[in-house]
């Protein structure tokens, strides 16, 4: 297995945020982690990218246990994390944000190639290249955050609630782009509260409830699961 999380437990002081969770992702897949607010989704991504150190567990990526790697080293393994709330550098221009997305590279051709790829997916960013990121709209910020993750041409893209706060039209647009990114070879770990959209593009899914994985399976099976339907699809 390409990304394998085993028996992961994380606490914030006395608060237990993740309780012995395990899940996996095969190369090329879109896997989604759905759950309500506070379930622990962001904590999972922050732990994989090394921002939070867990109490126990293993995180295997490409046959390596990356649990004790510093966050900036993990970015160098080809794992890009698009954080919740987009987290642009608002004082930097759109171009500078994207340049930092490929911070670890000094190869001009590689960066130009990465930039031209992301501008193909997000032409609107190209028009705003000199603007400070702080002046972009919500949808554009989500695009910038994803583009910043993608310039380094990562193997694994982790997205934390890309649909948050966006209009249904924009959500559709973003999810179509996620599908395109995946079909051009990038594996995706997608964290969402919007279970309907997420289950529609994912191949497999895990349901996270107060720090535990309570359901898992093929995304299309979960879409028809009565428990998922009543709790997450509002039916």
């Amino acid at each position: 297995m390409w990304l394998k999380i085993e028996n992961l437990s994380v606490s914030y002081g006395m608060i237990k945020a993740l309780n012995n969770i395990s899940f996996e992702l095969k190369q090329g897949e879109i896997v989604t982690l759905i759950g309500a607010n506070g379930a622990g989704k962001t904590t999972v991504l922050n732990t994989i990218s090394g921002l939070i150190k867990p109490n126990q567990g293993t995180i295997i990526f490409n046959q390596k246990n990356i649990l004790n790697f510093a966050a900036h080293k993990i970015a160098g393994l080809g794992i890009a994390h698009v954080p919740e709330g987009r987290k642009p550098f608002p004082n930097l221009s759109v171009y500078e944000n994207l340049r930092l997305g490929a911070y670890l590279s000094n190869d001009k051709d590689f960066i130009t190639q990465g930039l031209s790829k992301v501008f193909k997916s997000f032409p609107r960013l190209h028009e705003r290249i000199k603007q400070p990121a702080g002046t972009l709209s919500g949808g554009e910020l989500q695009m910038l955050a994803m583009a910043r993750g993608l310039v380094s041409q990562p193997n694994l893209l982790m997205l934390d609630e890309p649909s948050m706060g966006l209009s249904p039209i924009l959500v559709n647009e973003i999810f179509n782009i996620i599908k395109d990114i995946n079909s051009s070879g990038t594996s995706i770990l997608l964290v969402e509260q919007n279970a309907n959209m997420a289950l529609n593009i994912a191949s497999r899914a895990y349901v996270l409830e107060t720090g535990k994985i309570t359901l898992e399976g093929n995304a299309c099976d979960l879409l028809n699961d009565p428990r998922v339907k009543s709790a997450y699809l509002g039916e």
Binding site: A70, H72, P83, F89, N91, L92, L100, Y103, L104, R148
Partner: protein
């Protein structure tokens, strides 16, 4: 009128030295929210390194300046590694007290006989002083040199911060450390660079101060350090152009107060200006609430 112009020239000279020190305060504050009280002492060490380079090693002035800057960069980086890095997650007050401790240590340790010694030393002039008279104004080649070098270094800093990848990373780290790490930025490396650059500028300030006001001693960093800190706060701490603006104002206020009111009042008035500005604009002249840093 000529007298006023003359004072403005003097104010620019003092302000440009303050700016070189203030930039280090503001860079470091922008990245780790620490007021590095030892910064004025790094400025002092820079003055001494330049002194020895010129007098003992007979190095030409530009080489002596670069030597002092590199020496101070190393000292700043070592101070950060030994004193501040272990306190990275400690309460702010612990860091402030440590910074004060480092400052006292540097002042008293360098006062020892086998180091700089406790006495005032006359600073060597790298070349003869030439005064140019323009009408009733007098400008010396030293004044021009101080001003030109300070401006040049500030332009280089601006290019570094806005045009290089490391400069972009510095601004990103100042804004959001977690997200910066997701880009692959090593925070420790950026902090090291920041201390190095800030200390090198202070070192240059020390050498320029030495040749302009030609006397040095191990406690000489205290007052300019404090003034430069005030300048950084005045302009909006964490903001590079703010440090330059604040330093210009501080230099000017100080010189004009000495000229027109009384030289014993100059520090009091300088701090009064700070109080008034902070009452009107608590984030400093160029401060925008709390978002834009560096």
């Amino acid at each position: 009128m000529a007298y006023l112009l003359q004072q403005i020239i003097n104010g620019l000279q003092l302000g440009s030295v303050y700016a070189l020190i203030a930039l280090g305060y503001t860079l470091v504050y922008g990245i780790i929210r620490l007021i590095n009280f030892a910064h004025g002492d790094v400025f002092m060490i820079g003055a001494y390194l330049g002194f020895y380079a010129i007098l003992r090693f007979n190095l030409p002035f530009p080489v002596a300046l670069i030597f002092a800057m590199l020496g101070c960069a190393v000292i700043g980086i070592v101070i950060e590694k030994l004193a501040y890095r272990p306190l990275r997650n400690a309460p702010r007050i612990a860091c402030l007290i440590t910074a004060l401790g480092v400052s006292l240590f540097l002042e008293n340790f360098t006062s020892l006989k086998f180091l700089f010694g406790p006495n005032y030393l006359a600073y060597p002039r790298p070349f003869a002083v030439v005064n140019y008279n323009i009408g009733s104004l007098t400008i010396s080649n030293i004044q021009i040199l101080v001003f030109v070098i300070a401006i040049l270094l500030m332009i280089l800093l601006q290019i570094f911060v806005t045009k290089t990848k490391t400069g972009m990373a510095m601004r990103a780290v100042a804004y959001d450390k977690s997200t910066a790490q997701l880009m692959g930025i090593n925070i420790d490396y950026i902090i090291t660079i920041t201390f190095g650059v800030g200390s090198a500028l202070a070192g240059a300030g020390g050498v320029l101060f030495g040749i302009a006001y030609p006397q040095i001693h191990p406690f000489m960093g205290i007052m300019p350090g404090l003034k430069a800190f005030v300048a950084a706060v005045l302009g909006g701490i964490g903001i590079i152009p703010g440090a330059m603006l604040g330093a210009g104002i501080m230099g000017m206020v100080e010189v004009l107060t000495s000229a027109y009111i009384s030289s014993t009042m100059r520090d009091a008035i300088a701090f009064l200006v700070l109080l008034i500005v902070l009452l009107i604009k608590p984030a400093g002249l160029l401060g925008k609430s709390s978002i834009e840093k560096v």
